[in-house]
Subunit: 396 residues, 2 copies
């Protein structure tokens, strides 16, 4: 009854989402406080008060227009606020035309890929990568090409391998900075090297290659780290952003796509992305939330909360004998399975009511992802269980 393509997807349903559903079931059995659900990037930090204050203000002052259709690319004043905020922060020169408001970053990536991909064209991703990228690329009959996880170099991708895999089928490269699931931040020198390769390959192959930068965690960085603003380094760059993490509102599905004027034929591409937003059925980003983010464009939730979680979990897991990458951004801890088997690790952790995601689904065997965007108390309460798990493995 269902299409062949969907049969594949049903068979390989998202491990993350299965964990999320399983977590809900376990909580029903054992009680909310006795399940340590680190499966999903669902922020538990408080939504900044400005978000809900903005909603109330908008309902008071704009209630007649706030719920109506907007242009397919979004309210013009909202797109303008986004552009101004970026210009202020990054010393750029965007205007409202460079911005398309979207139903979150996931939808943003979809409409970008729909706009650029022909059948069998390739999009390169760096493993470990957000597992949904594969679905998004294949939605438009593209092919995912994976650069191996560079375990030896703190998961900073090997650019030689990238260079060797760019060919006359390559249409784009997706980077995710800060990275989900490793928590690694790519610094300026990496971005420069990456851009240099893309510029060289564009010339060599006489082919436009887009750098698609998926940046929902852009503001979530620690220890003074900075995420280089990508448009400055490579012309054919498309930025995909979501307010899900920065404002802790992932359920609301609000983000944007940014196409700078320096992108070749940028106007055509912006038109295509806008139309794609309509025809995949989003029509426009949720209208009230567009106006809300426009009022909160310079605000983030309290990053200190994540940092506190990060410090506690990282230091304790190291103390217990686990090997893990020290996160520089996002809110994921990437932990090596003591036996090298990530699926077995996840199953064993579940015995202690700890839910983690095996990184095989991110294209990186041997690790699990722990989303530490939970309450601090969840982390505190989980420590005893992690300790027991370490003891069971005999690594302590």
């Amino acid at each position: 009854m269902i299409s062949d393509k969907m049969k594949e997807l049903v068979k390989n349903n998202s491990v993350i989402r299965e964990m999320f559903e399983e977590g809900k079931n376990l909580k029903k059995i054992y009680g909310e406080e006795n399940v340590y659900d680190f499966s999903l990037g669902n922020p538990s930090t408080p939504v900044p008060s400005e978000v809900n204050d903005s909603i109330i203000e908008l309902l008071e002052n704009q209630k007649d227009t706030i719920h109506g259709y907007t242009s397919n690319n979004g309210f013009e004043d909202v797109r303008n606020s986004v552009a101004i905020s970026l210009n202020k922060k990054y010393n750029t020169n965007f205007n409202s035309n460079n911005i398309i408001m979207t139903v979150g970053a996931a939808s943003g990536l979809n409409i970008v890929l729909k706009s650029i991909l022909n059948k069998d064209e390739e999009v390169i991703v760096f493993a470990p990568y957000f597992s949904e990228y594969k679905c998004y690329i294949e939605n438009y009959d593209g092919k995912i090409v994976i650069i191996s996880p560079n375990e030896g170099n703190n998961f900073i991708p090997d650019l030689k391998e990238l260079e060797s895999k760019i060919n006359n089928k390559t249409r784009g490269v997706i980077i995710n900075n800060p990275n989900n699931p490793t928590g690694v931040v790519y610094d300026e020198s990496f971005i420069k090297d990456l851009s240099e390769i893309l510029v060289k390959k564009e010339k060599e192959l006489k082919r436009d290659i887009y750098l698609i930068s998926d940046e929902p965690y852009r503001e979530i960085v620690y220890d003074g780290k900075k995420v280089p603003f990508i448009t400055k380094y490579y012309n054919d760059t498309i930025v995909v952003y979501s307010y899900s993490k920065s404002l802790a509102i992932p359920g609301e599905r609000i983000g944007y796509v940014l196409v700078q004027d320096e992108v070749k034929d940028s106007k055509d591409l912006i038109t295509a992305i806008t139309i794609a937003n309509r025809v995949i059925g989003c029509v426009n980003a949720p209208s009230l939330m567009q106006k809300v983010v426009s009022k909160c464009v310079d605000i983030t939730c309290d990053i200190e909360i994540y940092d506190k979680n990060r410090k506690l979990l990282y230091s304790k897991l190291k103390e217990y004998g686990f090997e893990c990458i020290k996160p520089e951004g996002a809110f994921y801890l990437f932990v090596k399975s003591p036996t090298g088997d990530d699926k077995e690790f996840a199953i064993r952790a579940k015995k202690y009511n700890i839910l983690v995601v095996p990184a095989t689904s991110f294209g990186c065997k041997g690790y699990v992802r722990i989303a530490y965007c939970t309450n601090y108390s969840t982390i505190e309460n989980s420590l005893e269980s992690f300790k027991k798990l370490a003891e069971e493995y005999g690594i302590k």
Copy 2:
């Protein structure tokens, strides 16, 4: 730079959306009150006060969870409220598992079509049809098959033509009841005849054929007309609904897909649609709005307002000499071009600052669609211009 498929779409961009953008420009030039924009189904009726009251209540009582990710099919309590409301209204027997909350009906149609269509399979639509159906079907490499507009019978589709066009490539039939753009409501006897043909053809071809019922206008009916609730008549029925029109909140992008248990392998289909919702990037329907519609599930905006608009516009246009279909539902008036040329009609109307959509884009030459979901004053103020237009045509 953009994909071949999108090049086509950019070339044939939505006439409706172009009109909407043009309307905004004309309003800047001539002033809001001097442009009679009947292009888009953007309700101008007040949003029921319960909608905004619910938002405020939710922000007070559930502010810690209201903006978070939900399951890909939506909050369980919300799906349950939707099922209960339908059961009460239509004496059905749905539960939360039959409902998938979606980013409006447009997105609902997309995830349904993604779930059922293989390459080159056919989906039948009745002209005149909502022009986006073609895009949605082709998004998944399906083929649109059009049943000719049945002008001689008040645009009630010719079911013999339907029967002749069902073959071993047919995967679905889309109906839109009440119809956009004609305003016609298909009654029970039509639905029964349609179902009989589908049952017969399913047996004959040994093939599952879905009836996909797109029902954003279900509650918007006049003169005591009723829309038969479709699931009772044909087992393999999928209902796609949106709150855009019933609650006058089209910008918020909230609706649902309903798959009844009687659909063959309904559980697999529901799983596929849920996963499709995730992988096309919607992830989940906007979370706050899910909760809002759950609280407003038995409410509609004031249909009387549309009825008042309908009566004035229909009676006056008839008086001026225009031929038009008397709308029984939705909020569109389908008007015949005096010369038989709909595009010329739209251009000539624009000289009088009247914006209407030529129905060629709905697969029905010779008519234009007038969306009368405007303010009453817009209709009142437009009458003089319609009169002049009639005089110019010499039909009065």
